[in-house]
């Protein structure tokens, strides 16, 4: 086994008296899709917010490629190659696809100090990325407001790719999508991992998770209660782990 891309050790997050995350150890490897499962309030969101730099952990360490990191802001996390695709996507509907992919990181050529946009070049880059993702979006100049939910996910993924993200966190990417669109986004997720990205996928949909992920981690009451390889488990076991019906989880619950 090569060193994992990301290692979380003893990650704990308390909000006052509430412990949202409690001593979580988790590794994410390059080239794999790791699914995070768990009921509402299980700590998944808190966990990814810590990874994304939106929350500072109360205790515990994070290392990326063997180097310890501490994030003061989402920008810090982005700088080490962690891209988070939030559920609400944070895209600007009134701007074009290309403008969204490059928003805040435009390619410019300075003439007398004035940063002129290199529009042709940005359009080409986005066109290539969309092709690579096989996203079936023909015009990088189309406004994002005219796209479907799945196409918007593709734009958000392009944004992550342009960041040269090493870890892409996807929060419920298929929650609001039609069936065909869901398929497309799952394909994109797989393709990201095949490019060598580590992908952390949060989803409530067990079928989706079984289709696309290599490994699964189940969270419950702020703890990681189980980790399974896809080929070593089945949906029934995962559901019982999530709900707490599984004997392992019951034993854990009793310990507390």
């Amino acid at each position: 086994m090569p060193t994992p891309l990301l290692e979380a050790r003893g990650l704990t997050k308390r909000f006052g008296a509430l412990t949202a995350l409690s001593g979580v150890d988790l590794d994410v490897n390059a080239g794999e899709v790791l699914a995070l499962l768990g009921d509402n309030g299980a700590g998944k969101s808190t966990f990814i917010k810590v990874l994304a730099g939106a929350h500072a952990p109360t205790e515990g360490t994070l290392t990326i490629g063997g180097t310890p990191v501490a994030f003061a802001s989402p920008q810090d996390a982005a700088n080490v190659g962690i891209a988070t695709i939030f559920q609400e996507l944070a895209l600007s509907e009134n701007l074009s696809i290309a403008e969204n992919v490059f928003l805040g990181r435009e390619i410019v050529r300075r003439v007398a100090g004035v940063p002129f946009l290199r529009r042709r070049e940005m359009k080409d880059v986005v066109g290539r990325l969309l092709d690579e993702l096989d996203a079936h979006i023909s015009d990088p100049d189309a406004p994002v407001g005219s796209l479907s939910g799945g196409q918007r996910q593709a734009v958000a993924i392009c944004r992550a790719l342009y960041l040269d993200a090493r870890l892409v966190i996807m929060d419920e990417p298929t929650a609001a999508l039609a069936v065909a669109e869901t398929r497309k986004v799952l394909d994109l997720t797989r393709r990201l991992a095949d490019r060598g990205c580590a992908v952390l996928l949060i989803s409530h949909n067990i079928a989706d998770v079984f289709e696309v992920s290599d490994r699964m981690a189940v969270f419950r009451r702020g703890r990681k209660v189980a980790e399974r390889r896809r080929d070593a488990t089945d949906p029934e076991e995962i559901v019982s782990l999530i709900t707490g019906a599984h004997p392992d989880v019951r034993a854990l619950d009793k310990q507390q």
Partner: protein, 319 residues
């Protein structure tokens, strides 16, 4: 061509044409070159202010104090000229003073986290008092002709005023469509929270937009002084209404995120054509703000109620 002239711009151009035809039929003076030149000259200050307002609206803000900012900048330019300062330097002082006032408005909005309409309404009161106090109840008049000669005397057959206004338009266009400032401004106008999550320095964009709009209002002050060589107590009183009306008529969204510079230019022309034409057919000038305000409200009403596809196509904003 459809990209260049979206549905809204075409409708507006047609409206200008219809207005021109109606007034031409009603008044023999309307279509004379002299009168049309007057319309153009009267459009100068409004055009500059409206371009700034377009950027502000697109960024999700508004500035109802720009008329008073223009007034204060005009007093600065006028008094510099009366003090015998070189006309070119006095002229440049206009945009500089305007930019400073824009920075104040931007700082109040961005750092005070006060809605732009309320913040600039407060500034309007302060600035107006400033104008009253500086002028002391009398007009600033008897301003020497140096600046007028400078901008109006043709160089190689072209008055410098036209070149300067062209350059100002070009500068706004480049800023909006050819530099990162444009998409950043539009992203903030769409949703400042999403813009922040995308890593955009929202406060800096806000400040910059107010400064640019202020500088344009200040440049308008320079042209105002060059044209009228006086400052009255009521300077700039109708400017915010007209600038907002021109931008909104043109297709800029009052909710932010969308704008068109060509539309704003057409909006300015329509407003000034209407005012000039109505004056020529004998409508007292007191009615001008009524007409401008009515056009603004009608367009907003049409946008809100654009139910049928045909109507929607006429008022649809360009993307």
């Amino acid at each position: 061509m459809t990209r260049l002239l979206g549905g809204r711009e075409a409708t507006l151009a047609a409206a200008c044409l219809v207005a021109a035809l109606v007034f031409a039929a009603a008044s023999p003076v309307f279509l004379t070159p002299g009168n049309l030149l007057t319309v153009l000259r009267n459009s100068t200050e409004l055009l500059l202010a409206a371009l700034g307002m377009t950027l502000l609206l697109a960024m999700g803000a508004i500035d109802v104090s720009i008329g008073m900012a223009m007034g204060l900048a005009a007093i600065v330019v006028g008094q510099l000229l009366m003090a015998g300062i070189d006309p070119a330097l006095a002229g440049i002082a206009g945009p500089l003073a305007g930019a400073a006032l824009g920075l104040v408005a931007g700082a109040v909005v961005a750092f005070g986290k006060i809605p732009a309409i309320v913040a600039t309404l407060g500034l309007l009161g302060v600035y107006r008092a400033g104008i009253f106090l500086t002028l002391g109840g009398a007009w600033l008049s008897g301003i020497p002709t140096g600046l007028t000669d400078l901008v109006a005397t043709p160089v190689l057959g072209v008055p410098p005023a036209i070149v300067l206004i062209g350059l100002a338009y070009l500068a706004v266009f480049v800023l909006l469509r050819r530099t990162p400032f444009g998409p950043h401004l539009l992203a903030v106008g769409n949703s400042d929270e999403k813009a922040r999550l995308s890593g955009i320095a929202v406060t800096r964009i806000r400040l910059m937009t107010f400064v640019v709009a202020g500088a344009l209002a200040g440049l308008a002050a320079t042209f105002y002084i060059a044209t009228y060589r006086n400052v009255s107590m009521t300077i700039g009183a109708t400017l915010p209404l007209e600038a907002i009306a021109a931008a909104v008529l043109g297709g800029t969204s009052i909710l932010g995120g969308r704008c068109t510079l060509v539309g704003t230019v057409l909006g300015v022309i329509l407003i000034r054509l209407m005012q000039n034409g109505l004056l020529l057919v004998g409508v007292p000038s007191l009615w001008q703000p009524v007409v401008t305000g009515a056009m603004l409200l009608i367009v907003l009403g049409l946008e809100a109620g654009a139910g049928s596809e045909g109507l929607r196509r006429l008022v649809r904003r360009p993307a």
